[in-house]
């Protein structure tokens, strides 16, 4: 089944009808295609987390409609029978390690699938698979999740969502607070899931390098609205515009931007170091010669 997700004129207000009302989203029109890798970027408080919680009906729009595959969610939608959506759309929250609760890692990972009616035996089998997938050793399966390091807990929490075998995977800043290697590991794993298992991935991140390296579509948010949708190259080609939105650009793009101001020319905005080097080399008068190093 095609799992396109479409937002039509979606608005969301927290705590409607109270003096604490705060409008977090307005007039969102957006399509997230099946099998795409979408990155959502935006200044803190721009509504990214609120937006993605609509993708598995944890939040229902206060106006407009969200279509998830063949299910239409409107403000009137009943809270019952949302489970099939939640199984298909797996969600890894910001700091997901706070959701661990079982005695052992294996049981915690098996918790999700068992809630969706998978047998205990099959769920524990998946737990074993997933632990390897997220780069942990089999030995952790029988340990208490509370005895693990922060980074290991994060991986267990991600494994717990992957074990549900979702078709869409949402990750809300999955690498926040991890060391560079942990970051690379997790992003590498997400990319493999996207490429090998055809998972639709939606990634919220503040790391523009990750956007440049992995995403094929970028959604830029500001003050609860979507201000731009495009490929990473389209979005990152206007460095000044992004800075105005209080967003960064990948180091390579920032570097290229500086060079452009100094008179260099680029056919397209380089997003990776290789691209940058390839375009830069022919323009350097003494490329490859190092006899004038001081």
């Amino acid at each position: 089944m095609v799992m396109d997700i479409t937002f039509k004129d979606v608005g969301y207000t927290y705590q409607v009808g109270t003096p604490f009302e705060s409008r977090a989203l307005h007039e969102i029109n957006l399509t997230l295609r099946d099998h795409a890798f979408t990155a959502i970027i935006g200044h803190t408080g721009s509504g990214k987390s609120t937006l993605v919680q609509h993708l598995n009906a944890l939040l229902k729009p206060t106006s407009g409609t969200v279509t998830i595959g063949d299910r239409v969610i409107t403000p009137e939608t009943n809270n019952k029978n949302l489970k099939p959506i939640r199984q298909k759309v797996g969600m890894v929250f910001q700091f997901p390690e706070s959701q661990l609760f079982e005695e052992t890692v294996a049981k915690d990972i098996a918790f999700g699938p068992m809630n969706f009616g998978v047998s205990e035996e099959e769920s524990l089998k998946r737990a074993k698979e997933m632990v390897q997938l997220v780069g942990l050793k089999d030995a952790v399966l029988e340990r208490s999740p509370f005895d693990l390091s922060g980074g290991q807990m994060r991986r267990v929490a991600i494994a717990g969502v992957l074990a549900m075998k979702p078709e869409v995977l949402i990750l809300d800043e999955p690498t926040a607070g991890l060391d560079p290697e942990g970051r690379r590991d997790i992003m590498g794993m997400v990319q493999r899931l996207h490429q090998e298992n055809q998972l639709t991935v939606i990634l919220i991140t503040h790391l523009m390098e990750d956007v440049a390296n992995y995403a094929d579509q970028v959604v830029v948010m500001e003050n609860g609205g979507v201000v731009k949708v495009g490929t990473p190259r389209e979005v990152f080609s206007n460095v000044q515009w992004l800075r105005d939105k209080q967003l960064g650009v990948p180091e390579t793009a920032a570097f290229a931007d500086q060079l452009i101001k100094k008179g260099f020319q680029f056919k397209q905005m380089p997003l990776t170091e290789t691209e940058l080097a390839d375009e830069l080399l022919p323009q350097l008068p003494q490329a490859g010669r190092n006899d004038n190093v001081e």
Binding site: Q15, V16, G17, T18, P19, F20, Q53, N56, L58, K80, K83, R86, Q87, G90, M91, F93, P96, S98, Q99, L100, F101, F111, G112, N115, F116, F146, G160, V161, M164
Partner: protein, 264 residues
């Protein structure tokens, strides 16, 4: 979820009631519960009702928020009123069936009790809507101070109270977050039979406990690192100051008492 827990939450504002000393508001709320028992006829109830309405007007907060305060208790109130109506006799009897009598006396008493409940709830809602929880804790500390002579641990109790109050919103956010995370893993909260519902609570409570203990430990470390000693000689960031308006408030309540005594 969080909408339901809104009840009695502080609503920031700049009205004269907001600016009153929290000690006055606390004391007068209790005092009001006391004097409401002086009311015994329609004139006194009407007078107290008008007084309460004026107080509410002064807060510049919509009446709706006060009425919302009554809602969770409405069944208890109606039950009490019904008991009063059905089982007290006297005056003209309208209808009777065995021990159950509806009399004019019962009906009037029922209405009075209803008024009493509503006015008390309005006044205490007024206190919590216009006073930040931490100011309330300060007020309690200040009012308990005399108990130090009998070695009551005033500072410690006040500190516990303010920490508890400070972390209520944090804990509520945390609860919401963990509930959402577990919902995403297929938990249905508030569905199914009582046994299933209790089971659904476990994946919520354990992470909540773990994070609360971690937070408590962090807080203790942070306080020690900053040299917290507690107790004697510690100055306060929020200083309570008694002003003319506070004296006038007390005067107003004294006048209300006098009027009540005259009218009853």
């Amino acid at each position: 979820m969080s909408n339901k827990l809104l009840l009695g939450r502080f609503i920031p504002g700049d009205s004269i009631v907001h600016r009153l000393d929290p000690r006055v508001k606390l004391l007068m709320s209790f005092y009001f519960v006391g004097i409401i028992f002086l009311a015994d006829n329609w004139q006194t109830y009407l007078f107290l009702f008008l007084f309460t309405m004026v107080a509410i007007l002064l807060t510049k907060i919509k009446l709706g928020f006060f009425i919302k305060g009554v809602r969770p208790l409405i069944w208890l109130i109606l039950f009490t009123v019904l008991l009063q109506m059905l089982f007290s006799s006297g005056g003209t009897v309208y209808w009777s069936w065995g021990p159950i009598v509806i009399s004019s006396y019962g009906v009037v008493n029922g209405i009075y009790i209803f008024m009493r409940f509503v006015l008390i709830i309005f006044m205490s809602t007024l206190l919590t809507l216009t006073t930040p929880p931490l100011s309330l804790a300060d007020a309690i500390e200040s009012l308990l101070k005399p108990l130090k002579v009998i070695h009551f641990p005033v500072y410690e109790v006040a500190l516990m109270l303010s920490i508890a109050l400070r972390f209520v919103p944090t804990l509520m956010d945390e609860t919401e977050k963990i509930m959402n995370a577990q919902r995403a893993r297929g938990v249905d909260f508030g569905e199914g039979n009582i046994f299933q519902q209790m089971r659904a609570i476990v994946p919520l409570l354990i992470p909540l406990f773990v994070s609360s203990f971690n937070r408590a430990e962090d807080l203790a470390t942070a306080m020690e690192a900053r040299g917290y000693q507690g107790g004697e000689g510690r100055s306060k960031y929020r200083v309570l100051s008694w002003q003319l308006a506070d004296n006038l408030t007390i005067l107003a309540f004294a006048l209300v008492t006098v009027v009540l005594v005259i009218l009853r």
